[in-house]
Amino acid sequence: MSVELDLAGRVVELVRSAAGPAARTEVMVEHNAEALTRFANSAIHQNVADATTVVRLRLHLDGRSSAGSTTITGPDGLRALVDRTIAAARVSPADPTWPGLTEPTPLHVSAGHPGSGIHSGLDFGFDEATARSDPGERAARVRDFVRAAGGLETAGFCRTVYVSAAFANSAGHAVEGRTAEAAMDGIARVDGSDGVARLASGRLADIDGAVLGARAAAKARAARGPVELPPGRYEVVLEPEAVADLLGNFAFFGFNGKLFNQRQSFAEIGAEQFDPSVTIVDDPLGSRGEPAPGVPFDGEGTPRATLVLVRDGVTKAVTHDRRSAAEAGTESTGHAWDGSRSWGPMATSMRLEAAPAGTESPPAEPSPTAEPGPTAESARPLVEHVERGLLITDFWYTRVLDPKSLVITGLTRNGVWLVEDGEVTSAVSNMRFTQSYPQALGIGMVRGIGAESILLPDRWSGVRFAAPALHLASWNLTGNASG
């Protein structure tokens, strides 16, 4: 039994002794060790690590609910947590929509990673070496990134995260799991132009700083001397970094069960809302040899499983925790987190399915002597089919103008190019857009999907995306560098 599961069980017992057997208790204990080596101006300037255990208690007592948490895990800290959470429940207004506890339920087996965890019977592909990595390993990847950029100014981070978590409730449900994540995200800069390279993995060994640094530098060099284009609607190829932003906003605003219940989401179950080529899945258990990105249960102990949100353009599901599921008359999909009561349950492992093998022409082998260009390998076949449009690397500062239509404004970043007759013809300065995301992927609007999904980290840990490049018929650019 892990330290975390032992702690969770002790808190359940403390509540039982203080409030009696009628108290309905759920406890999540999460130990999170995050280390992040950050560089700017081609030097490591911030290098941090912390190891924190948080105990989260949620209870339902005499028809009333409350929650609390602490990082103080000694006997006094746990007792104080229990006492103040019970006291809060006793004076809280009634909670008539309390959804009950998760009954003892086995965790789902990941098809790719059947394992032998202590309690769960699964290890979900956990990589011990990543969990135990040291500052020197992260610094070495930064060094490789900086060197590979060939003298260009560089900035970014290399991160490792280890999480060991356990859940227990008064219904007798107890599960535990652990996970590790590594990520690198960096830019290279020259003459005011930036290029980016980004990658997430369950294994630090998969992160090659030299490969990423060279890619970022190639993009930055190709982005020099940008021209300013007038605002308007453009055909676009979005590289995986930009596509990840679409997935993140779909998770937060579109497939969020709370917003769906409140009719603030565009999602309509069973409706053809996307182009038939679009399939979107939340994939918390990992796939294709990739370790799971998180622990195999959510904040209410519900086992996580693959959830198809959109299949062949038809919206199939939204994400639920127990409360939003009860309101919708369905089952939890395993998407509870400590903020889901307020913000709603959200997918954290979104994947836009790449084009099936064989439907896209394979990327041409780059000539060994050719100057690396601006186009990511997975986007190259899509660019070849663009008559006149933009190749966009990344999006920045995207914010919602209206949650229901999911009209979003934001800017391009880290490289934009004009494409004419299938060829990149010039770099373009960054532009502002104002665009409905679901409309951009609507029926007939998707002209192509890349053949490979790239694993990308969110800029804040705990979320990642698997995204291919996308060729879209129209994107609404509403401003340029002049305003």
């Binding site: 080596t37 950050r38 700017a40 101006n41 030097a43 911030q46 290098n47 690590a49 912390d50 190891a51 924190t52 255990t53 609910s65 409350s66 929650a67 609390g68 948490s69 602490t70 990082t71 103080i72 104080a80 947590l81 959470t85 809060a88 809280s92 207004p93 909670d95 008539p96 929509t97 500052p135 020197g136 610094a139 930064v142 060094r143 981070f157 991160r159 830019i187 800069r189 930036d194 409140q262 603030q264 307020s342 500062y397 103008l401 209206d402 229901k404 404004t409 934001g410 970043r413 960054n430 502002r432 104002t434 409309q439 800029r459 804040w460 840990s461 509403t478 401003g479 002049s482 305003g483």
Partner: protein, 478 residues
């Protein structure tokens, strides 16, 4: 109970392990938050966090480590670990680092608080949110929501230069908002701003907001917006309410004058700044009406403190004077790199995070007018208030904001309601077009400023008042 001893142990261990400078912060924080929806409490959480973060400078490289354990042994281990991490940073070293003076010494500071927010009975706080959302629901909201947040933070700061500073900062705030589902879109109205108003004050701040009185009006306005005409597209005179202007200041001035961004330290994530240090003291940022101060001494404002997280005493400083850029938000190391002689704007969002350059209270000094006078002086324009969306580029130049509500202004009078008002522009061009500014200043609080990796959430304050800008592009839509 003091935690100076643990912080001192961490600092000493870092020095023993080779650091030439070290500092440590012990922080103990109690937070409480509640949300309500449609007359029911939706979530209530009471949280406690305690730990120690230690920062070590070895050669020209920093290391930081944090632990939730306040034992002496854990503190010493954390100090050694911070020095070890700093040594690893030397794999890719930067230029030599100096620190500008921070006025070392022993001190104690506490924010003003009339009514301890954690001492107000939960039932009374629950009744307030339940009552406000029920009132908005009864007045026509499809969804009525309200919240409050309370933070009660005690800090003990020790440095190898002799700092011994403890602070007790209490912050709280609340808000209510009503949403109405229209045909294919959602309209929302919020009081007093979206997400609420916050300050370093006690519960008296929440009492003054008077949520119960304003909640029904929010619902009525949201419903009226559903059938209101769209904000027309074009260039016009734009009058902004003080709350929206506070966010405009935050995004297009506050972040732009952060010295770490100017130096490129945030280039890969938050971004850089369009400002060039060589033009400090001569660059025209805005019109003569534009006077921006950096002032963490404002009583009750959300970005106020006695000492920053490097031990620098709070002090007022000009950032823009008569439209000319004259100051930055700086830390001890960034100031030294830039050749400046002041710091004072470094904070972390908790014991587990590295202190970094953050806004304090960055605000606009009052002007000579009132909002009524500004509207009366406008022949043709749009008045917008209450932020709904915000976006700005990584150099803090190209912005687009959406507001919850707009009004046509014709011949000096506020006219019909306009829905989905947005405006866009380029920072200095926009600020140079400010030709009227009100004296009706409020120190708006922003409790959700994201920056840094790992991510940190900062609390900032922005005194501002309604103002008018000329020839602004409005009505941008998808």
């Amino acid at each position: 109970m003091s935690h100076f001893d643990e912080a001192l142990s961490a600092v000493q261990a870092a020095l023993d392990a080779g650091a030439r400078y070290a500092d440590a912060r012990v922080m103990v924080r109690r937070t409480e938050s509640m949300t309500a929806r449609d007359g029911d409490v939706e979530d209530l959480s009471s949280d406690e966090s305690a730990g120690l973060g230690v920062r070590a400078l070895v050669g020209s490289s920093w290391g930081f480590y944090a632990v939730p354990d306040l034992s002496d042994a854990a503190a010493r281990a954390a100090g050694r670990r911070a020095a070890l991490i700093a040594a690893a940073s030397a794999t890719v070293p930067g230029p030599p680092i100096d620190l500008v003076p921070a006025g070392a010494g022993e001190a104690s500071w506490a924010s003003d608080c009339v009514v301890d927010p954690l001492g107000v009975p939960l039932s009374a706080k629950g009744d307030l949110l339940v009552g406000a959302t029920a009132a908005a629901k009864a007045a026509g909201a499809d969804i009525a929501e309200a919240l409050y947040h309370i933070w009660d933070t005690r800090k003990w700061f020790v440095s190898s230069e002799g700092h011994r500073i403890d602070q007790h900062i209490r912050e709280c705030g609340a808000g209510v908002w009503a949403s109405v589902i229209g045909e294919g879109e959602v309209q929302r109205r919020s009081w007093p701003s979206y997400g609420g108003q916050f300050g370093t004050r006690g519960w008296e701040l929440v009492d003054e907001l008077d949520l119960l009185t304003h909640a029904p009006r929010m619902a009525e306005e949201a419903r009226a917006l559903v059938t209101a005409p769209l904000c027309p597209a074009g260039e016009t005179a734009l009058i902004l309410g003080g709350e929206q202007l506070a966010l405009q200041i935050h995004e297009s001035v506050g972040h732009a004058i952060e010295l770490d961004r100017i130096l490129g330290w945030e280039a890969a994530f938050a971004g850089t700044s369009w400002l060039d240090l060589e033009k400090l003291g001569s660059l025209r940022y805005g019109s003569d009406l534009m006077n921006i101060t950096i002032d963490p001494t404002i009583p009750g404002a959300l970005g106020s403190f006695g000492y920053d997280d490097e031990g620098t005493p709070a002090g007022k400083r000009d950032a823009v004077r008569d439209g000319i850029w004259v100051g930055v938000l700086a830390g001890r190391d960034s100031a030294a790199v830039a050749g400046l002689d002041y710091a004072g704007s470094v904070r972390s969002d908790g014991w587990a995070r590295l202190p970094m350059v953050r806004m304090t209270n960055v605000g606009l000094e009052p002007g000579p007018h009132t909002l009524d006078e500004i509207i009366a002086a406008t022949d043709d324009g749009v008045y917008m208030e209450t932020n709904r969306s915000w976006s700005i580029d990584d150099r803090r130049l190209n912005f687009q904001f959406g507001c919850e509500i707009g009004y046509e202004v014709k011949n000096g009078k506020r006219g019909r309601l306009l829905r989905n008002p947005t405006y866009t522009g380029i920072g200095p061009k926009f600020w140079q077009s400010m030709d009227m500014l009100s004296s009706e200043t409020i120190a708006w609080g922003t409790p959700n400023c994201g920056k840094g990796q790992p991510g940190q959430v900062g609390h900032t304050g922005h005194p501002s008042a309604p103002a008018r800008f000329t020839n602004v592009r409005v009505g941008v839509r998808g």
